[in-house]
């Protein structure tokens, strides 16, 4: 089954309008591979039929399914290690001191299936006293309702717990359930997951002291990145920090953030 050029282009347009995700020419194979399961689930005979339904029902459930299928949800616990070290040794101690009594909000923006948010929750348990830990509210958001449902469940496959999670944490924070591992209830309870689209209304966007915006800007074009980063400036409390993925930077966007090297990592600080 092949994907006609006009259908490919229409699908790309829909995905871009709905999510900001840019699929360039040459990504036909990716669209085919990601949408094959959608065809099966929805009993559609061909990509042409799928594209036709997108045209006739532009805001229908198929649109949502197509966007969700086209998001790349790859993530791991403690991805890249260093950012979590920087949080533990620099960012959090500084913020705890700067806001002696108040709550702190950490936002895992584009949280996928929750590993990033839960890594922070486990790191807090390992390194800070109960009172400090209880001051931190962790919020995870993503456009993709499917991954959010998985995140809320806190249930991970063996392959997922093999990736980046220290074995000692697996023992302390997870219970085995068949071939899966389920995160302890009290850790799960520290994280709230909400649906939120960076190119939508931003309803439910938290005001935060730390924003992890990692491995997601790469999917957008420059104007979209600019809009998201400018909006993040407004969602961040004074003196707060923005952290990006290890291959990302704010080089091509206009911003008030200061680039700060902390330990082995780079963070972006909003002037106080």
């Amino acid at each position: 089954m092949t994907l006609a050029v006009s259908d490919f282009e229409h699908i790309c347009r829909v995905v871009r309008e709905e999510s900001g995700i840019v699929l360039e020419a040459g990504k036909e194979y990716l669209v085919e591979a990601r949408l094959a399961p959608v065809l099966r689930e929805r009993n559609l005979a061909s990509y042409a039929e799928l594209a036709a339904e997108l045209r006739t029902k532009p805001r229908g459930p198929l649109t949502v399914a197509v966007v969700e299928a086209m998001t790349t949800n790859e993530t791991t616990f403690f991805r890249d290690v260093t950012p979590f070290e920087v949080l533990r040794t620099k960012v959090l101690p500084e913020l705890f001191a700067a806001r002696p009594n108040g709550p702190l909000t950490l936002w895992s923006a584009a949280c996928s299936s929750g590993q990033e948010a839960y890594s922070v929750a486990m790191m807090l348990r390992e390194n800070f006293d109960d009172a400090s830990r209880a001051r931190v509210e962790i919020i995870g958001t993503d456009i993709d309702a499917k991954v959010l449902a998985r995140a809320r469940e806190g249930r991970y496959s063996q392959i997922e717990v093999n990736r980046g999670l220290p074995a000692a944490y697996l023992l302390r924070y997870f219970a085995k359930d068949g071939m899966h591992w389920v995160l302890r209830e009290d850790v799960r309870r520290q994280v709230e997951f909400r649906a939120m689209n960076f190119v939508g209304e931003w309803r439910g966007a938290p005001f935060a002291d730390v924003i992890l915006l990692r491995n997601v800007l790469i999917y957008f074009d420059q104007p979209t990145r600019q809009r998201i980063v400018s909006r993040m400036e407004r969602q961040l409390n004074r003196g707060g920090y923005l952290m990006l993925g290890s291959t990302e930077s704010l080089q091509d966007v206009d911003t008030r953030f200061d680039r700060v090297e902390l330990g082995r990592g780079v963070v972006y600080r909003l002037p106080g």
């Binding site: 403690f78 290690v81 717990v161 093999n162 980046g164 220290p166 074995a167 000692a168 219970a175 085995k176």
Partner: protein
């Protein structure tokens, strides 16, 4: 970085050797815990041993216990790489002195991720 790969499956040893040499590690192999102890005794210290659990002659857990009882090997990190995936098995291995635990099957990302956790990335 010197790494000892201990597994009775030659295929697994080959896979690990390829992944590890790619990142510049020097790799030695042993097909069970007994051989591994001989290799350790006869060569320069290893930074890390990857240890299968079920092997003929001397199994992985025994290897871990033996190594941890010998101060000469205090600097060597140990990671189980095994099909055993029960909670009590992970517990037993860590209590015996393994620093990390990787469940089979695994890919390159999983191995490199664990090396990073061990400070060897």
């Amino acid at each position: 970085m010197r790494i000892l790969v201990i597994d009775d499956s030659r295929a697994i040893r080959g896979i690990l050797r390829r992944m590890l040499t790619e990142i510049g590690a020097e790799v030695a192999e042993a097909e069970h815990g007994g051989k591994a102890l001989e290799v350790c005794a006869a060569s320069a210290p290893f930074d890390l041993a990857l240890v299968d659990w079920n092997m003929p002659e001397v199994d992985g857990l025994t290897f871990v216990r033996t190594v941890r009882a010998n101060p000469r090997y205090a600097g060597m990190k140990l990671m189980m790489v095994t099909t055993e995936t029960e909670v009590h098995q992970v517990e037993t291995a860590l209590a015996a002195g393994a620093n990390e635990y990787l469940m089979k099957p695994f890919g390159k990302d999983e191995v490199l991720g664990k090396l990073q956790l061990l400070g060897l990335g």
